[in-house]
Subunit: 484 residues, 2 copies
């Protein structure tokens, strides 16, 4: 029998060269002159540590996972070697521990004393956000609690192998700390009414009240599960998380003060106005709003180390995978996105970064809700001889209902599934499983696993580009330009 | 072979009668007149819920634990039936989830609006503490983070079976959130200098700085591990936790405002002054200090549900045990004690409640640090025929060093161990294992397991009584009377 791949080599030069950079970034803000966004330097340093820690600890702890029976066979390979499972736990632990160690940097008022030496020059340079508002510490801690609960629940899921119908609502439990503190802090439950509905509702803002809390918990459920169901091939979960995190970071950067002034040619995206970002420490698209800068800094503090951890893990999870993430990784990354979307108030923009996941979810609905049979695994079918993946199929054991046939014929017309029909009656006998991965294989033909995950990543990037176009181009059509 | 015991029956009448009381207590503060300590009512209600949840969920989830291979043989029984292990995870989950759901009660300012209706009467009644200070929310959340990390690490310990030398420092990791937020909140690192040392140091307060953080992390390490090493017989872990929690609660109650006035006859304990507790809503031994009342309320919010969970779990863990706690219970209870000791600033008083644990730890040192051989299990030896426990023994495979012999002879003189010596040379061949449980068996003779745990509980209660005498009687000799 063929043997599994050897562990990937770890280039020690990486460690040697990146570690001093990380340490420098973490402690740079203590040297004068204090940079305008001091804690962001430290966060960047922590993210490099996160990357290195994941890079080295994930393979080192794989053996322990196998010993505790946390292992799985790679379904799409010729070898049967057990692969360590649930390494997302290691990633989540590194991530959360670093976020905890990071607490004093933005919240202890270290830099205030420094910045106090030169108040006038700072003021002249515009927004410098030296002090992080204290009440944000509670929000930060409640986010950590939710992340830790998501990790715990994800790991319990890995251990006890909870059935998917039962685990759908699990992220709601993990979001409880978020909701409780949001409530105790008397968080904003108003939403801006889109322009077309304003004449109808006769107001600009509408208070959703308890519905807003429902929305928040559903957001975390969605972001967690949508990554979890778009899984099954090497690197799929972590690459989605990585690209979404990078998109959120790019979006955050637009709201930060920059020393250079640049314009975004929004008219190319169909907007009527020009957006100017930066200027002498003017706060990007925050247009000088300190609150907006703070919110997006908050988001960056969570997203930068996530990118670090994901990159480090991806090195070992990339085709052919040496380790598997388990549900834990999906839970913690999904919860991280929900946390920043909620706490930094850009949940609608965040949802735009989930376009492939939304597509996958909507496409999966006929199988999730029983219109079409749903096998235990919907991963593509592996052709051992050619090393290619083909779309996997769901077999109708009884003849499909009229509704099922109608839905499947519609999807087939759109090219999203391939049907096998009875040659004489035309009755649907089989259809390809309704996942985005199978759609790729139906549309682009059989390909190997590495190629498939690359197509998935390409789609995710394309989705994010679309998201930016919609958010900064088309959103002007339904919302005021200066909404925050 | 004999079969293990059947699950203990659950008296449904308990559920039926306690649930409405719990609901009433939780929501009573919303009715006028608002009680003077509204959130404490709710906390009491939550604690009843915690008790009921543990009572019903622990046996219900035992089967799932066994399926995930979390089970163990009871070493001191005639039967070999596997007993579900790690049920501390269920207790910890109930405990932490209820603490999270409790957040809005003290922190959302619900009762301010109510209390606002009658400000003058309230003021006339003394301290009513209607509003919980906002900055305490961060401390509350950091405590929850530490508890959750302790739970997680305890469960990982159960799963991966970490060696005890490696797991000693684990609570330090769990205490990091506590330390970070304490630091970010610029928590007090001063300690009061005992009277005899004041002439030496020439000050009343001394700033320990970083040493204070070391002290805090060592406190959590101590409180966690000291419960963990005093284990091995049915009900031992949870009964220690229960009695310590009740002692902390009793101590907290002394600082709360009471409608009735009572005096504690402290002169009987050797103190020179009389202590008056209560009066018309005057704040007990807090002598009107709002901060002290808040701190002890904080402690009660953590201790009351812990008592609930421990009571519910103890019902199933009592001899003969139907479930085992695993390391998770020791970790979460130990961390809970560290949390209240640190956050509510009574760590020295807390340590006094650990007298039996301190005794057990000091006694264990010769075995922990290699002077005396340390077998894998130091639990008493079980005599199957008589159903009695005898002291277990450590065998010297090589002849003991002079130091070991000296230490053992000293302990033997004190009656803390029994030595088996060579009849002619007098060389020590064996000694009883150095744990408090074996000391009981050496001093009081063989007894059954149930009796032994009752002796342990009696000792714990006696320790707490001593602690109160020392704290409120003798402490006046080394500290000022009015220290806070």
């Amino acid at each position: 029998m063929a043997h599994g791949p050897q562990p990937r080599p770890l280039p020690s030069v990486l460690l040697l060269s990146l570690l001093p950079i990380a340490v420098w970034l973490i402690f740079r803000p203590f040297l004068s002159p204090v940079p305008p966004l001091p804690a962001l330097h430290s966060s960047l340093g922590f993210s490099i540590i996160a990357f290195l820690a994941a890079l080295y600890l994930v393979p080192a702890l794989g053996g322990i996972m196998v010993k505790a029976n946390l292992k799985g066979k790679d379904l799409l390979k010729t070898y049967d070697t057990p692969i360590p499972e649930s390494l997302g736990l290691v990633c989540a632990s590194i991530y959360i521990l670093l976020l905890i160690l990071f607490i004093p940097f933005p919240f202890s008022g270290w830099y205030n004393d420094h910045a106090g030496n030169q108040p006038t020059t700072k003021a002249a340079e515009g927004i410098s956000v030296p002090e992080f508002p204290h009440h944000l510490l509670s929000l930060y801690l409640s986010s950590l609690l939710s992340l830790l609960m998501a990790t715990m629940l994800g790991f319990l899921d890995d251990i006890f192998d909870i059935r998917w119908r039962h685990k759908l609502p699990i992220p709601i439990i993990a979001s409880i700390p978020l909701l409780m503190v949001y409530y105790a802090e008397q968080g904003n439950t108003h939403v801006v009414v889109p322009l077309p509905f304003r004449p109808l509702l006769r107001r600009t803002l509408v208070n959703l009240g308890p519905l807003y809390y429902l929305y928040m918990s559903l957001l975390s459920t969605f972001s967690t599960n949508s990554i979890n169901i778009l899984a099954g091939i090497n690197g799929s979960e972590v690459s989605q998380a990585l690209i979404i995190a990078l998109s959120v970071i790019l979006n955050d950067l637009l709201y930060l003060p920059w020393p250079v002034d640049f314009r975004i040619p929004l008219h190319l995206l169909g907007s009527q106005k020009e957006v100017e970002v930066g200027g002498v420490w003017a706060a990007g698209m925050a247009y000088g709003s300190r609150q907006l800068v703070e919110r997006h800094l908050f988001s960056l503090y969570f997203m930068l180390p996530l990118v670090g951890v994901c990159l480090g893990f991806m090195y070992h999870n990339w085709y052919p995978a040496r380790v598997f993430p388990g549900d834990t990784l999906c839970y913690v990354t999904g919860m991280a996105f929900a946390v920043v979307g909620i706490q930094a108030h850009f949940s609608k923009t965040l949802l735009l970064f989930f376009l492939p996941q939304i597509f996958n979810f909507v496409l999966s609905c006929p199988q999730l809700f029983g219109l079409v049979p749903c096998p235990r695994h919907r991963v593509p079918r592996f052709d051992r001889n050619a090393n290619l993946l083909h779309p996997s199929k769901a077999l109708f054991e009884r003849s499909p209902s009229h509704l099922s046939t109608l839905v499947l014929r519609g999807l087939s017309l759109l090219g999203l599934t391939e049907l096998t029909t009875h040659p004489s009656t035309g009755q649907v006998l089989e259809c390809t499983n309704l996942t985005i991965l199978n759609v790729f294989l139906v549309r682009l033909g059989p390909m190997n696993e590495k190629r498939l995950v690359q197509v998935l990543m390409g789609t995710q990037v394309a989705g994010s580009v679309t998201a930016f176009v919609v958010r900064y181009g088309l959103a002007g059509l339904v919302y005021d330009g200066d909404r925050r």
